[in-house]
C-alpha cells in the first residue's frame, strides 16, 4: 500500500507506477535541518539549497547527471571469485552481500560507464558508498582495471568518483591487494598519456585514499568531503590528539596542499569538461546541459576496438 491510494480515485491511482512514487516526499538536511522537498533536492543533485551541504548521491544518479542527456552505456566488469576467504563475522559474507544488493539494487560498489560529457568522450567510474560503505574488494579493483583498460582502448580520459570507508574487510588480504592492482591500472592510463581525474566525494578514507584516489593528474573534491587515511575517531582514540576544526575535510586538505580544487557539485560537470578538454588539447566546448549524442555520433566516437 502506498500513501497515494488514500488520496486519489482508484482509476487514476492505477496509472501511477508504484516505483515512481517516493514514500518520503520531504527530507531533512543533516547540516542545517531545513525541510527539503524531494523534487527540489533531486534538482539540486542532493545539495541543500539552503546551506549548500552536499549529501550522498547514488552512483547511477551521478552518472545520469554527468553524461550528456543522461545517456551512457555500462562497461562490463569481470566478476571475481565470490567470498574468496569463506569469511564469517557475525554474519556470513555472502549474506551481507545479498543484503547490500537487495538494499541498493546494485551488484557491487562501483559502476563503470562510457559516454560523452560536453561532447567529450570519456570513461567514468563511480564508487557507491551505499553499497557496503563503498568498500574496495576484488570487484572494485576489477572495475577500476576494466575502466582503465576501456579508456586506453578507446583513447579516452578516465574520470573517477571515489567514496569509500576503505577496504572490504571480508576479503582480507585480497582487499589490501587492490591497492597495488588499482595502481597498475592508473599506470596504464599514464603510460597511454590519458588524463586521469579524481573527484573525491564524502567520505573517501583508508586504503582507497592511499591508492587510486590520490593518484590523479587532477584532484578535485566536493565541499565538506572527509578525505583521509586514518579517520578522526581512530586518531582521537589511539593518539589522543586534539583535532582542529574542519580537520580532514576537503577545504582543510586544499589548504594543506593535498588537492587541486574544491568544487561544488553544481559546477563539477562543467569543470570536468573544461579540464579534460584542455588536457586533450581540444577546443573549448559549449557548456550546459546537452541532449544525448545521436546514434551516429556515438558510433563515430567509438571507432576504437570493441569491448571484450
Amino acid at each position: 500500500m502506498n500513501w497515494i491510494t488514500n488520496y486519489v480515485r482508484p482509476r487514476i491511482n492505477s496509472i501511477f507506477s508504484r516505483r515512481e512514487m517516493p514514500e518520503n516526499l520531504w527530507s531533512k538536511c543533516d547540516e542545517c535541518g531545513s525541510m527539503l522537498f524531494h523534487r527540489e533536492l533531486k534538482e539540486h543533485l542532493n545539495v541543500c539549497p539552503q546551506c549548500g551541504h552536499h549529501m550522498a548521491l547514488r552512483a547511477r544518479d551521478r552518472l545520469t547527471a554527468l553524461f550528456d542527456g543522461g545517456s551512457y552505456s555500462e562497461v562490463e566488469v569481470p566478476a571475481p571469485v565470490a567470498d574468496p576467504l569463506h569469511f564469517r563475522d557475525q554474519k556470513r559474507y555472502p549474506d551481507r552481500m545479498k543484503a547490500a544488493q537487495r538494499a541498493t539494487g546494485e551488484k557491487e560498489a562501483m559502476l563503470v560507464a562510457e559516454g560523452e560529457i560536453g561532447r567529450t568522450p570519456i570513461v567514468a567510474a563511480v564508487q557507491d558508498f551505499s553499497f557496503m560503505g563503498g568498500s574496495m574488494g576484488m570487484y572494485v579493483g576489477n572495475a577500476i582495471i576494466a575502466a582503465a583498460e576501456r579508456a586506453v582502448a578507446l583513447h579516452r580520459p578516465l574520470i573517477l568518483f571515489s567514496a569509500a570507508g576503505g577496504a572490504r574487510m571480508q576479503e582480507g588480504i585480497l582487499s589490501l591487494m587492490q591497492m597495488p592492482r588499482t595502481t597498475v591500472a592508473v599506470q596504464m592510463l599514464k603510460e597511454a598519456g590519458l588524463p586521469y581525474v579524481v573527484v573525491l566525494t564524502h567520505p573517501t578514507t583508508g586504503g582507497v585514499t592511499a591508492s587510486y584516489a590520490m593518484l590523479g593528474d587532477v584532484q578535485i573534491a566536493e565541499p565538506g568531503a572527509l578525505i583521509c587515511f586514518a579517520g578522526p575517531r581512530v586518531i582521537e582514540q589511539t593518539i589522543r590528539e586534539k583535532l582542529p576544526e574542519g580537520f580532514q575535510r576537503a577545504e582543510y586538505l586544499l589548504d594543506h596542499g593535498m588537492l587541486d580544487r574544491v568544487t561544488p557539485r553544481r559546477d563539477m560537470r562543467d569543470e570536468l569538461i573544461t579540464i579534460t578538454r584542455m588536457l586533450l588539447d581540444l577546443p573549448p566546448q559549449v557548456k550546459g546541459e546537452l541532449p544525448a549524442p545521436e546514434k551516429e555520433a556515438v558510433q563515430e566516437a567509438d571507432d576504437a576496438p570493441e569491448k571484450t
Binding site: P80, V81, D83, P84, L85, H86, F87, R88, D89, Q90, M138, G141, I145, A167, M169, Q170, E171, G172, I173, L174, S175, L176, M177, M179, P180, R181, T183, V184, V186, Q187, G206, G207, T209, A210, S211, Y212, A213, M214, L215, I227, C228, F229, A230, V234, I235, T238, I239, E241, L243, F247, Q248, H256, G257, M258
Partner: protein, 320 residues
Amino acid sequence: MTNYLDFEKPLAEIEGKAEELRALARQNEEMDIDDEVSALDRKAANLLSDLYKSLTPWRKCQVARHPDRPHCKDYIEALFTEFTPLAGDRNFADDHAVMGGLARFNDRPVMVIGQEKGHDTKSRIERNFGMARPEGYRKAIRLMEMADKFNLPVITLVDTPGAYPGKGAEERGQSEAIARSTEKCLQIGVPLVSVIIGEGGSGGAVAFASANKVAMLEHSVYSVITPEGCASILWKDPEKMREAAEAMRLTAQDLFKLGVIDRIVGEPLGGAHRGRDTSVAAVGDAIAEMLSEMDDMDRGTVVQARRKKFMEIGAKGLST
C-alpha cells in the same frame, strides 16, 4: 631472560624451574641434579614443540609482535656489508621508523629499505614503533628512485603495525605518500624483493611490499587491518581479535595458498627469536634465491612481471 607470550606460560614455568635448579647447582657443588634438569629440559622441548606445531592465527600475531623477535636492523647488520644509511625525504624530516641505504648483499651493491620497531623503550619511541609517517614513505620513494637510476636491486624488510594515525601524518598527506610509494614499487625497472619479517600492517606494508617477489617468515602476518581493528569494526568488540585473526587469513600459510606471497621462510622452533642466527641466515638465503630468479630479466621484463603478478592475485580464492 626470555619474554614469554601469554600462551607460553606453562613453558615459562618449566623453563624457569630448570633455570632455578641450574642456579642452585652452581651454588652447591655437591648437589647432583643433572637428571632432574635434563628431564625438565625434555619436558620444555616437548611442550614448545606442541605449542608451535599448530599456532592459531592470533598466536601467530603475538609471535610476529614478540619484543625479542629479530627486527629490520638485526637483519641489515647481519646480512649486509658496508651498510650506508641514507636519511631524509628532502622535504620535511628524516623518519626513524624507516631505515634505508646503500649496502652490499653478497658483495653486490643494493638498496635496502625497511621499517624498524626498536628493541627497548627509548628506541621504540625513537622509531615510533615502526609506524612510518609520510616522510618515511617519501624517503623510501627517493631511495627507490636512486636504485632505479643506478640499476641496483631493492630489498625491503617489512615490519610495521601500519601507518601512523596521527594529526601531522594526515596533514602532510600520508595517503598520498603511501599511494606514491606503492606506485614507485610498481614502476622501477630493477628487481624488488620483499620479506615480511614480523607484522605486515595494511597500507604501511603495501607501500614497501608491492614487489616482484614477496617472502614471509613462517610466523609473520600480513593483513588489511590488525585483528583488533577488524574485531572492533565487524564484531563491535576489540576483544574478539582471535575470531578476527581466524577469519582474516593473515598467516603466511594462507597467503601462500592465496597466491599473495611467493615463499615461506621457516623459523626455528619457538619462533625467530629462539634462534636469531638461523632466522637471519634463512632470510638471507631467501633474498639471494629471489634475486637470482630475476638475474636474466631486463628492465622492461622486471616491470611487466611485477605488474602481471599483482593483476593475477585473487583470481582464485581459497580452495578449502
